[in-house]
Symmetry: C2
């Protein structure tokens, strides 16, 4: 089952990469008020159903993919939109 | 206007970060067939309408955000889903 996890820096958390992107875009002449940079992880997971896959991916986020102190994550599963 | 740009390594392009994630998830006991890691950029753009914002973000991708040789990108605008 294909899944996509989007990880974003939490509101209020410093995001130097986003600030660099924002500054560079302004220097290029773009009217940008804010830029925040996160990560996207596309996964192919072996699971029998959407609920099982969702539970597994949540554990993956807690154990490896996300830093819960500074990042929030959302999970999208194919066939679950 | 809020926008989200998702940048992914193109198919066939080596993705060492994705391979590291895949290996680590397997070591943790997860049944993962593939993992690919990309970036997500959340932007607040000054634009009068969706078409103008989309055109501006496309130029941002070409000039700064994406490496078109190895990355593909998709643009999502609020109010354009």
């Amino acid at each position: 089952m294909r899944a996509t996890v989007v990880l974003r820096p939490k509101a209020g958390i410093l995001d130097p990469q986003g600030e660099a992107v924002e500054t560079s875009l302004r220097h290029l002449g773009f009217a940008v008020a804010e830029a925040r940079v996160g990560r996207v992880v596309d996964l192919e997971v072996d699971a029998n159903d959407v609920a099982e896959a969702h539970a597994a991916i949540q554990r993956m986020c807690e154990q490896l993919l996300a830093n819960p102190l500074i990042e929030s994550y959302s999970i999208q599963l194919e066939g679950d939109r």
